[in-house]
Symmetry: C2
Subunit: 103 residues, 2 copies
């Protein structure tokens, strides 16, 4: 029995472009995506944001429901990662374009 609990993950095939664009079109959510761009899972708390914890949670949820990130609870940690490969397959070039604009 593992101590890992996946949080409901959406099927990216059922997510449309508008939903993903809406999820990405917020400065806090873009910042989350940029910090997760390295590709490795990290606890939500390690993503540095200038917002309250509840606001951050809301933004993480929006990204998760749009299929942009996935999350898994491990004990008291909620690991989070960018669904980069799946996003690249579903929306080719989109994440690269979004992450390219880092300046």
């Amino acid at each position: 029995m593992g101590a890992h609990a996946d949080i409901d993950q959406v099927d990216l095939a059922a997510v449309d472009l508008v939903t993903v664009l809406q999820a990405l079109s917020d400065p806090v959510r873009l910042e989350i995506v940029r910090q997760l761009a390295c590709g490795t899972a990290m606890p939500c708390g390690q993503v540095r944001l200038d917002v309250t914890k509840s606001t951050a949670s809301h933004h993480f949820k929006t990204l998760r429901l749009a299929g942009v990130i996935a999350q898994q609870d491990e004990g008291t940690r909620r690991n989070t990662w960018l669904r980069r490969e799946e996003l690249d397959e579903r929306f080719p070039g989109l994440m690269q374009a979004v992450l390219h604009d880092r300046d």
Copy 2:
């Protein structure tokens, strides 16, 4: 003296990624962008949309203020075109990714 009147065009260098993503994250506005993707200017009225004229005007304005499209009045026609080359320079790959998702 020409009969052409440019409508205030934003400086794309001053437009950030969030603004462009917000402009693109609407089904009607995405449809406008797709119909303008051929690259040639067309009168607003030739863009076929399932919304009222005033709603359409609102969406054209949102796209224009985000630097996605440009418009020019020519007599009674308001010609509209996608600022594709400038967008490609400012946000490399973004329009290609957005327009790729046509299905």
